[in-house]
């Protein structure tokens, strides 16, 4: 990364492999790619809010693709992100049932540098289901698990975040939160398969 917060593609790939990518790397995507994506959505029956929502989803999908080893490097990061945006927006239009002439044109043109995006980006519904399950855990559980597994904070610091006086109490709470989610996953084969196939790094 240079002094202006600009990342090369190689820097971005490294950043997205980290459990928690640096905020600066994600900001770089917004600075360099958002206007182009927004322009595409606005020119294809979308509004400002659609553009923002789709771009946010595209950034998450791109990071997941990189992590799962599905980004093949055949195109630049910005180009791939643009393709994901177009792909997700077209799906959204289809979902909303808007029949557009452009849609037919989209199908004819093979402008996606990453083939089979549908396959690569699959699991949208599963991810949404998972997010609902985590939301249902409650604020303290979310804070504890995110602080431990994402922010990599030591237990002593997490105690401060959730106002627990005793490390053992915090450990017990973490155990209960994990157990609750583990039980919710029991019997949810598609979700488990999703994580197995995603090849997430430990």
């Amino acid at each position: 990364m240079d002094n202006n917060g600009n990342y090369t593609d190689a820097d971005l790939l490294n950043a997205f492999q980290l459990v928690k990518p640096p905020d600066q790397a994600i900001r770089h995507l917004y600075r360099t790619c958002f206007l182009m994506a927004r322009s595409y959505v606005l020119q294809n029956s979308g509004n400002e809010q659609d553009a923002e929502d789709i771009f946010q989803e595209s950034v998450i999908s791109l990071i997941e693709m990189v992590r799962n080893g599905k980004f093949r490097g055949e195109s630049s990061i910005s180009s791939c992100l643009y393709s994901i945006t177009r792909h997700l927006w077209l799906n959204e239009l289809r979902r909303k049932g808007r029949a557009l002439k452009r849609e037919a044109r989209f199908d004819r043109e093979n402008f996606s540098p990453e083939p089979d995006l549908d396959k690569l980006l699959g699991g949208e519904k599963l991810r949404a289901q998972l997010m609902q399950m985590i939301e249902a855990l409650g604020e303290n559980c979310k804070k504890i698990l995110v602080a431990f597994y994402y922010d990599d904070l030591p237990m002593k610091e997490i105690m401060g975040l959730v106002n627990y006086q005793n490390e053992q109490v915090l450990r017990n709470k973490k155990y209960k939160c994990m157990k609750q989610l583990e039980e919710a996953l029991t019997g949810k084969l598609p979700l488990l398969q999703y994580f197995k196939s995603a090849l997430y790094h430990e």
Binding site: V19, K20, P21, D23, I26, R27, Y30, R31, T32, C33, F34, L35, M36, R38, S39, Q43, E48, E52, F55, Q56, V59, I60, I63, E64, S75, S76, S78, S79, Y82, S83, F111, P113, R127, L130, M131, M133, I134, K142, L145, V146, Y149, Y150, D151, Y175, M178, K179, L181, E182, L185, T186, L191, L192, F195, K196, A198, Y200
Partner: protein, 247 residues
């Protein structure tokens, strides 16, 4: 704690790397022979990954909330005025307040965000030729366009034009101005008019992006006054008025 709870706790400690070497070896031996234990471990792994996925979404959402408003287009003034004009006389006061608000919001960067739309290649615009630079531009790879452009020994008019747009897309207005000026010079030298009106508009937008209002105004005036200019509709009277106020 029952057996199941103990087992779960040991598996969690295993995932968190908190078991001793001896305990790890014992558990791994058990895992080899116990399918229920393997399944439980898979589920706990999935829990850990789903937490990370959730946290990534939250992180991106936070950055999105911080960044996206910068790019939001201000509400169209004409509509506000239209609504205002349809109500009673007291609205004059409200209209003045709205104009005062707009005046306070004036800045070259706000006007640029309001007016800027990246150039899109269409055949009717005279960019039907193929090549690595146009195709890189078409697929939104601005950095690749710049890289290819820099490697060209003798760039043509269209190359300068697309490079100018790529620089503008990436926020480098100074380089964009240079590319558009070089392109216009080429047209003059060759006595051609390739993409001349497009370049006028995007050069003016580049000046605006760079805060050089005095240089941008004559170009915008020309586009506004020429009803046949393809970008005439993009340079409205009110927008131009606001631009003048920033100068």
């Amino acid at each position: 704690m029952n057996d199941d709870s103990t087992q779960t706790e040991i598996l969690m400690q295993y995932l968190d790397g908190e078991l001793s070497a001896e305990e790890t070896a014992r558990l791994e031996r058990e895992l080899k022979t116990s399918l229920p234990l393997q399944e439980k471990l898979e589920r706990l792994r999935a829990v850990k990954q789903s937490v990370r996925l959730f946290a990534l979404r939250e992180q991106v959402k936070g950055i999105h909330q911080e960044m996206a408003p910068e790019y939001r287009k201000p509400a169209p003034v004409v509509n506000i005025r239209w609504v205002v004009l349809r109500v009673a006389a007291s609205v004059v006061g409200i209209a003045l307040l709205v104009m005062l608000y707009e005046y306070r919001q004036l800045s070259p960067s706000a006007l640029y965000r309001e007016g800027y739309r990246p150039y899109i290649i269409t055949q009717s615009r005279g960019m039907s030729d193929s090549g690595t630079l146009p195709s890189a531009y078409e697929s939104g790879r601005a950095q690749d366009v710049i890289r290819i452009f820099r490697s060209l020994p003798a760039p043509g008019v269209r190359d300068y034009f697309l490079a100018g747009n790529a620089y503008l897309n990436t926020g480098n207005a100074t380089q964009a101005i240079q590319a558009f000026l070089a392109m216009r010079q080429k047209n003059e030298q060759n006595n051609t008019h390739i993409l001349e009106e497009d370049a006028e508009y995007y050069l003016a937008m580049s000046y605006l992006k760079n805060g050089e209002i005095a240089a941008a105004l004559p170009l915008f005036d020309k586009i506004h006054n020429d009803q046949g200019h393809p970008y005439h509709d993009k340079v409205g009277r009110w927008w131009l008025y606001k631009l003048r106020r920033t100068n």
